[in-house]
């Protein structure tokens, strides 16, 4: 049972690493959004895996909440990038540099 849990946790940590790599290296807004989604899903995997070995369903509940909220968040993020695309014809955040100092 415990070894099974370790498998899940390892996958989750690997996903977290992929997400952080994506955020650090990529400059395309949509890719960065995907990277954040991967981190959230890593956390969800953790929650569901831990919840599997506990006598109550708190983890699964939080995972459901988190999935719904992530969907709302992505909707907002995509609408922001659509507005930006209309202005710049581009989704590369390296080009958004009017604010600095």
């Amino acid at each position: 049972m415990t070894s099974e849990l370790i498998d899940f946790t390892l996958v989750s940590v690997a996903l977290l690493g992929i997400g952080i790599y994506g955020l650090a290296v990529k400059r395309n807004f949509i890719r960065m959004l995907f990277a954040i989604e991967i981190i959230i899903n890593a956390a969800n995997l953790n929650l569901v895996a831990f919840g599997r070995f506990l006598p109550h369903s708190g983890g699964q509940t939080l995972a459901l909440f988190s999935i719904a909220i992530a969907a709302a968040e992505v909707a907002v993020g995509l609408s922001l990038i659509i507005v930006a695309y209309r202005m710049y014809q581009n989704v590369d955040i390296a080009d958004f540099r009017s604010l600095k100092g």
Binding site: A42, A43, A72, E73, S98, K100
Partner: protein, 494 residues
């Protein structure tokens, strides 16, 4: 179980109903303008909420600060304290938007989003369960992403929103990951049970517990603008509509502190580790970098954005020494309330300046004292309170914060250095506050007085009365803070 008349539920009901109804009303009425109609409705809802919180306090219906509870939210004085601070800022924002948003479309959506974000912030302060905390956190964040990018035709507003969104979404992802580790270690999402679980944790698991606490600090730190996580903050504050900047600087930041106190400070005490030193170093870095960067700015909004980073550092002093002296948390809460009013007023003053004169560049503010006397006076009083000039309210909270650091000096050797760094930083900040004042009052000769928006004047008068009133006679506010501050030693072992 919570009663149906308890403060968080009533606030949620009032603001939620009005927030959902506003866009529906706008669809039914089929008109685009009439900003003032929706502003008045939102204003009334917020006033009723503030009134309800105050009424509950006056009638002694509020439990002393609990921090732990078996429910997901608890109706305690700590939450009520933050609720008042955030509702005041939401009122500032609503009133300040009155003129600012006049030229923009879809005002109903705008005010509705402000109300929904306010519910989120208030619930963050009340929540005692990590699930509730996370949901409230997102309810606070998602509307503010939209609000920051609300001016669709304006490239800098959009850019600000994109940056804010990326960092905000990352912060919430990190928070969920931290929650998942805490849940895995302790088998519960209730904050009290998590902390109790950490006490009895197997020593080999302690690094994981530290990792989860670190992830909470990082996640909340993004919203609070602590220094390694602050890069988004000046850009977002500058690009966002200025009333929304007030909401971000004065309210969502405070929600971050509320969550930090609920989750981290107590966890810190229980884990019995040198998190305090780490927080102390973060505090010194935050205030120094914030103030040094502020001096170099040419734009008033951006300068105050950096100054708001610096103030997150001052507040963090209190959290860092919280395990060693009861004054620490009191000072933090006191400064949180003051900072909400000071920063809110300062940014609303800038919103007024932007509405009437359309400038934020410091060089163009010459003679503002003659052109917009009341706005300029409100701005100067807010700035002096931020600097901590004696007869103003900001002075007492800074004294309490630095005093708490000195007080903790008998336990930990490094605490007095926090006070020294804080005093030096206050002196440094006086330089650029003084510079703004000099520009406004002692430069420029020929400017004539222009008409100031009445809504901005109302905010200015409220803040001047608050800052001078509680500066001259701070007793009631200090008593309120003492009532709202959770006592760490007694709640340590639930």
């Amino acid at each position: 179980m919570l009663e149906i008349t308890s403060t968080p539920l009533v606030i949620m009901a009032i603001l939620g109903t009005v927030g959902i109804l506003l866009p529906i009303i706008s669809i039914i009425r089929k008109e685009k303008g009439s900003n003032s109609f929706y502003a008045v409705i939102a204003f009334a809802a917020l006033i009723v909420s503030v009134g309800y919180v105050g009424y509950q306090f006056i009638n002694d219906n509020v439990a002393a600060s609990a921090l732990f509870s078996e429910d997901v939210i608890v109706n305690d004085a700590f939450g009520g304290f933050f609720a008042i601070a955030m509702l005041i800022v939401a009122l500032f924002t609503t009133v300040g938007s009155f003129n600012y948003m006049r030229k923009h479309n879809s005002p109903a959506v705008y005010y509705s989003l402000i109300l929904l974000a306010t519910i989120g912030m208030v619930l963050v302060a009340y929540s005692t369960d990590l699930v509730m905390l996370f949901v409230a956190w997102e309810l606070m964040s998602i509307p503010t992403y939209v609000l920051v990018g609300f001016m669709k035709k304006n490239p800098s507003s959009n850019e600000a929103a994109l940056k804010y969104f990326l960092f905000g979404a990352l912060s919430s992802a990190i928070i969920v990951y931290g929650i998942s580790i805490a849940y895995g270690l302790t088998g519960s999402t209730n904050i009290g049970e998590v902390i109790q679980g950490y006490v009895t944790l197997d020593p080999s698991m302690i690094p994981l517990a530290l990792l989860s606490v670190g992830m909470f600090i990082a996640g909340f730190g993004f919203k609070m603008g602590l220094v390694p996580f602050h890069q988004w903050l000046p850009d977002t504050y500058e690009g966002a509509p200025t009333p929304i900047t007030a909401l971000l600087a004065a309210a969502t930041k405070k929600a971050g502190f509320a969550a930090t106190i609920r989750v981290i400070v107590l966890g810190m005490v229980v884990l019995n580790l040198d998190w305090t030193l780490a927080l102390g170093i973060l505090a010194v870095m935050t205030m120094t970098i914030g103030n040094v960067a502020a001096i170099m700015q040419k734009n008033l909004t951006r300068m105050l954005a950096y100054s708001s980073i610096a103030h997150a550092g001052y507040i963090l002093i209190g959290l860092a020494v919280a395990p060693h002296t009861p004054l620490g948390l009191q000072g933090s809460l006191y400064h949180i309330m003051n900072h909400a009013v000071m920063k809110g007023a300062a940014f609303i003053a800038i919103a007024g300046i932007v509405t009437t004169l359309a400038v934020t560049n410091l060089d163009k503010l010459q003679g503002l004292g003659r052109r917009m006397p009341i706005t300029a006076l409100g701005l100067v009083i807010a700035l002096f309170a931020l600097a901590g000039i004696p007869p103003l309210s900001g002075f007492w909270s800074k004294i309490m914060l630095f005093g708490s650091a000195l007080d903790a000096g008998s336990v930990v050797w490094w605490a007095p250095w926090l006070a020294i760094a804080g005093v030096l930083n206050s002196a440094l900040s006086l330089a650029y506050y003084g510079w703004i004042t000099k520009k406004m009052y002692f430069e420029g000769e020929t400017e004539k007085r222009v008409k100031e928006p009445k809504s901005i004047i109302a905010v200015m008068i409220f803040s001047i009365v608050f800052l001078i009133g509680f500066g001259v006679y701070p007793e009631p506010l200090i008593q309120f803070v003492e009532f709202a501050t959770p006592t760490i030693s007694s709640s340590l072992m639930p």
